[in-house]
């Protein structure tokens, strides 16, 4: 029983924190100091009445001593402490704190989670303000119109002997410009109001498709059994506003259907379980390895997987995140992702163990390959596409792992050679 091995440590920690001598505690529960010493060093198992008595003397819940506070809570608290290392939180006594003040501990963890959510939101919004052409154009329009109105109004008020024809002309101009300003201002307000719901207002076709894909799911039954048409799925979507997004989504779904036809779900799952290698599975179905990577990411059962694809410029076209491996909704990913290495080594399979940062680092095996499409013709420059499958690994997976991140703005690796822009995380100064 793994917990009981640690119960003694918790009793000892608790006793030392409370400033009670071993002999005194032993006497108060009717055992010898030597026996308590064995318990505290996890050399004797403990339970039942003795545990209850010790808990009472230490002012703790027996269950807290026996099982410790909840592991997730402790993890979150350690993460929270790691965010502000300057505060020198007593990380070695996290468990004690959580055991004694469980409400406060949950508050610390909840605030930590909330801070992370808000940082992601700020990242999304600041991206928008920096790169948003619509906002820049609207503001330019408003300022120009305000300037025109101000000029004309000042002529009308300051020029005492103004000619009636000019007066009429400037009055008309002010009227026109006021109407235009109303439209621009209203447009700006509508836009900013819509902007309060970040989820609902994708700014690029790629982002529209990412949202659409997330909503639809990455396993699409109606394309598996042939009962659905890609065009119908696209037409039925409210989220795909632009023509570009519809075309992009349709292409992704057409390819999904082609993959499903070439590798029917049941046959594919069986082959994948049997062979477990994209190269071998590709040979069996006579498809290219990238199709196998896509197909693994579309499996309905089994462990969660992530998938990204990008073109030769590195622009991501498919963004399927997996827990712990954050894929930005828009913009570029981490330059160290193997998918980008694959672009530099066309047709070479790449298998890399990577580690995502965090107070609890997560490890993933990434399988990536890039392929040339000659759809422009045999003499035209080949169009490269790289595909990367992301398979979560246990934290205990050993070996050298490549340190990567999600995107630079939310990555804490301060001294990364591949950093493209500063992080907004407070911890990485």
């Amino acid at each position: 029983m793994p917990q009981s091995r640690l119960t003694g440590s918790r009793i000892r920690e608790r006793r030392l924190v409370s400033g009670i001598r071993q002999a005194d505690l032993a006497r108060s529960v009717g055992i010898s100091p030597a026996y308590l010493n064995l318990i505290e060093h996890n050399r004797r198992r403990i339970g039942g009445k003795l545990l209850v008595d010790l808990a009472r003397e230490l002012g703790a819940e027996p269950v807290t001593l026996a099982e410790g506070a909840e592991a997730a809570l402790l993890g979150a608290m350690r993460d929270a402490a790691g965010r502000f290392p300057d505060q020198e939180a007593e990380v070695d006594r996290t468990e004690d704190f959580a055991g004694r003040f469980s409400g406060w501990a949950r508050l610390v963890a909840a605030q930590h989670t909330r801070i992370e959510e808000l940082e992601r939101l700020v990242e999304a919004l600041s991206d928008r303000l920096t790169h948003d052409p619509h906002l820049a154009a609207s503001l330019h329009d408003v300022l120009s119109t305000v300037t025109a109105i101000r000029s004309a109004a000042s002529i009308l008020t300051d020029t005492t002997d103004i000619d009636p024809d000019w007066q009429a002309r400037f009055l008309r101009n002010v009227g026109e410009d006021s109407a235009r300003l109303t439209d621009s201002a209203q447009g700006l307000v509508d836009y900013l109001e819509a902007g309060t719901n970040v989820e609902a207002t994708p700014i690029s076709p790629q982002e529209e498709v990412a949202v659409f894909h997330e909503a639809l799911g990455f396993h699409i039954p109606s394309l598996e059994d042939g009962s659905g048409e890609p065009q119908d799925l696209v037409a039925a979507s409210d989220g795909l506003q632009s023509t570009a997004a519809r075309d992009l989504a349709a292409r992704v779904l057409e390819r999904y259907r082609a993959d499903a036809r070439a590798m029917p779900a049941d046959d594919f799952a069986a082959a994948w379980n049997e062979l477990g290698d994209p190269g071998l599975v590709a040979a069996r179905f006579q498809v290219d390895p990238a199709a196998v990577l896509r197909r693994v990411a579309a499996l309905p059962d089994g462990p969660a997987t992530g998938l990204v694809t990008c073109d030769g410029s590195g622009a991501l076209s498919v963004r399927k995140p997996v827990d712990g491996f954050a894929v930005p909704r828009f913009g570029a990913g981490c330059p160290l992702w193997p998918v980008y290495q694959a672009l530099a080594r066309p047709a070479q399979p790449i298998r890399t163990l990577v580690e995502m940062p965090g107070r609890t680092p997560r490890r993933f095996t990434c399988l990536a390959i890039s392929q040339a499409h000659l759809s422009g013709g045999f003499g035209a420059p080949p169009v490269f596409e790289a595909t990367m499958l992301i398979l979560p690994e246990d934290a205990s997976t050993g070996g050298e792992a490549l340190p990567v991140g999600g995107s630079c703005r939310v990555c804490p690796r301060a001294d990364c050679a591949a950093r493209r822009e500063p992080s907004i995380l407070s911890g990485s100064g």
Binding site: A136, H140, L143, V146, S151, A152, I155, F170, N173, E176
Partner: protein, 125 residues
Amino acid sequence: MGKQVLVIEDEPNIVEAISFILARDGWSVGTHANGETATEAVLANVPDVLILDVMLPGRSGFDILQELRGDPATRTLPVLMLTARGQKKDRELADRLGVSRFMTKPFSNAEVLEAVRDLAGPTAS
């Protein structure tokens, strides 16, 4: 006849207002709205002061300024640049290209008038 000022700006109502106040101040005002042909228009009849908007259809005011500074006829021409974006980098770029004065929208008539008078020098009308 007073000194000549040329206004290169695509916003017709701003052009009209600026022309009006400058004309009342005794200036002879020419106007031009197209970025692509702006340099030719300036060189065809070099004014005493040029008012140049940054955001023009066809060509940016920065490009026009750079070209004018490269031509002996307009190397020292006083240029007042107008922009709706007062960003530091725009201002720095304009300085580097040799702008005489930089003004951000929204400006007042009095500010424009004063700037144009200053740029024309002590012998201004």
